[in-house]
């Protein structure tokens, strides 16, 4: 199993953010966690990364229980948070090397790997530049390159295209699909934008802290009797208010 979430609940005080969420995500697949703003996506990512601890339920990543084996889990996980986590005053290379150190990667192993990851995201030319001078699209690409540095088997991305223009968004969506396909990495991509879901993806629809639908795109469309993901999403969430958030 790539990511196993069993009956997970979490509340901020008395306000429930996630209620009895269960998902079994196949390894090596791209899964879109689709939900409007406030659905609980970031809370779920915080739980999957160990920043929060569930009030109830169990999480396992690549068959390692997160509660009892957090280090084994985090060593195999790459994370791109919704908010930026780069050090703006350090260079691209320095940000990569700091991250490598946080994962215990020796200097010898790092240089070549940094080259590879930056090249893959088209950032080789920017290696010596301060992050502050990069535009938001490049910063996002850098965060993805950094998340792949330690060769994770699972990649979590929380709204990684927020605030980007359409070409940058498309490029990043395409890059991550490619990485998922080429390296057989399990990808969980949290988004509120339905056009980021590709036909071969799995989709989990999260709404008001509950999973309203889960399966391949074809299964979701068949179950809802719809012809596109946006229609399926409308039906599963049964809300017009969310619609404005689901389109770019």
């Amino acid at each position: 199993m790539g990511i196993s979430i069993e009956n997970v609940s979490y509340a901020y005080g008395k306000i429930a953010a996630l209620e009895d969420v269960s998902l079994a995500i196949d390894p090596g697949r791209f899964t879109a966690l689709l939900g409007p703003n406030g659905a609980g996506k970031s809370t779920l990512v915080a739980l999957l990364t160990g920043l929060f601890v569930p009030d109830a339920g169990r999480i396992a990543i690549l068959n390692h229980d997160l509660a009892s084996q957090p280090r084994e889990v985090l060593a195999r996980m790459g994370i791109v948070f919704q908010g930026q986590t780069l050090d703006l005053d350090l260079s691209v290379d320095q940000n990569m090397r700091y991250f490598a150190a946080l994962h215990g990667m020796s200097n010898r192993a790092v240089g070549e790997r940094v080259d590879t990851c930056l090249a893959r995201m088209g950032l080789s030319e920017r290696r010596g530049e301060r992050v502050r001078t990069l535009n938001s699209g490049h910063r996002r690409r850098l965060e993805i390159a950094r998340a792949l540095l330690h060769r994770p088997r699972v990649l979590l991305l929380d709204e990684p295209t927020v605030g980007l223009d359409v070409p940058s968004r498309s490029a990043i969506v395409e890059h991550v699909h490619e990485i998922c396909r080429d390296e057989a990495i399990t990808v969980l991509w949290a988004t509120h934008l339905v056009d980021e879901v590709w036909p071969q993806d799995q989709v989990a629809v999260l709404h008001r802290g509950r999973i309203e639908g889960f399966g391949s795109v074809a299964e979701i469309l068949s179950r809802t009797g719809t012809t596109d993901v946006l229609e399926a999403f409308k039906q599963l969430t049964d809300t017009n208010g969310a619609l404005a958030d689901t389109q770019p």
Binding site: S42, V53, L90
Partner: protein, 273 residues
């Protein structure tokens, strides 16, 4: 990482080195921070010290074996102040890191959380040592005479006091929800800790003025930071002060680790969106 994904011993060193390296880079990029850390105690020493020299008589008290000037008396307290401000500055930067997201990066490293926080603490202490020694050298050149060997003897003590005040800052950072609340730290932590201690006046002088203030000074752990540094600079032991510093260090650090524990600390229940 080994095959099971768990961190290895060389990995621990690499991680610590990385945290120290990043903090050093930031420190050298923020030259104004270094200047401010030096200007603050030097103003106290040169202006406040000169003004009070004639007003306050300081009798012979350990570790001094002769009469000393008021400036000589306050140098250890000002060195402690440098570390106090640095500890709070580190705390501020941790709150900033949390708001900017880089704390998430640190806390999702596969190394144990206490180890990552210890790395941050060591990095902050290293910076505070640079600041303190720069201040002591300038004070020594300009106004007071410090024994040369005192610099060496004081080093381990300054490490311990720097760690203790850094751990206090870390503990506070785990309880502060927003950067804006940090101003309260100045009013309710730094100033009371500094003024209600033996940094500016000997405890016996406090007792002459008020028993209550004297009692507060005795209970204030910062007093023991000041006295640890004072005795070490003059190469004399002060077991009580050193013990209080070490116990406070362990206590503050343990509470800070709890504060950053997602099961118990303030990070829990912060709205993620």
């Amino acid at each position: 990482m080994n095959d099971s994904g768990a961190p290895t011993l060389p990995g621990y060193f690499t991680c610590l080195r990385g945290v120290l390296w990043r903090e050093s880079l930031r420190f050298f990029q923020q030259r104004e921070r270094f200047a401010a850390a030096l200007v603050r105690p030097l103003i106290w020493l040169l202006i406040f010290g000169a003004g009070f020299r004639s007003v306050l008589g300081v009798s012979i008290i350990p570790p001094y074996d002769t009469y000393m000037t008021y400036e000589t008396y306050i140098v250890p307290g000002l060195a402690a102040m440098v570390q106090l401000f640095n500890g709070m500055q580190s705390s501020l930067s941790m709150v900033y890191d949390r708001e900017m997201g880089s704390m998430r990066l640190l806390l999702t490293s596969p190394f144990p959380r206490w180890y990552l926080l210890l790395g941050k603490l060591c990095a902050g202490t290293f910076v505070s040592l640079l600041q303190v020694y720069a201040f002591l050298v300038i004070a020594d050149l300009v106004l007071v005479d410090l024994p040369l060997m005192g610099y060496l003897v004081a080093a381990p003590v300054l490490v311990a006091t720097g760690l203790m005040l850094g751990a206090l800052g870390m503990l506070l950072s785990s309880t502060i929800r927003q950067l804006e609340n940090f101003a309260g730290i100045m009013n309710f932590v730094i100033f009371p800790m500094f003024f209600l201690s033996s940094a500016l006046y000997p405890l016996w002088k406090m007792k002459e003025s008020s028993d209550l203030i004297h009692t507060i000074c005795v209970l204030n752990p910062f007093t023991y930071v000041v006295e640890s540094i004072r005795f070490a600079l003059y190469m004399q032991p002060n077991i009580l002060a050193n013990t209080v510093v070490l116990v406070a260090l362990l206590l503050f650090f343990a509470l800070a680790v709890l504060g950053y524990d997602p099961k118990r600390g303030m990070l829990h229940r912060r709205v993620a969106g």
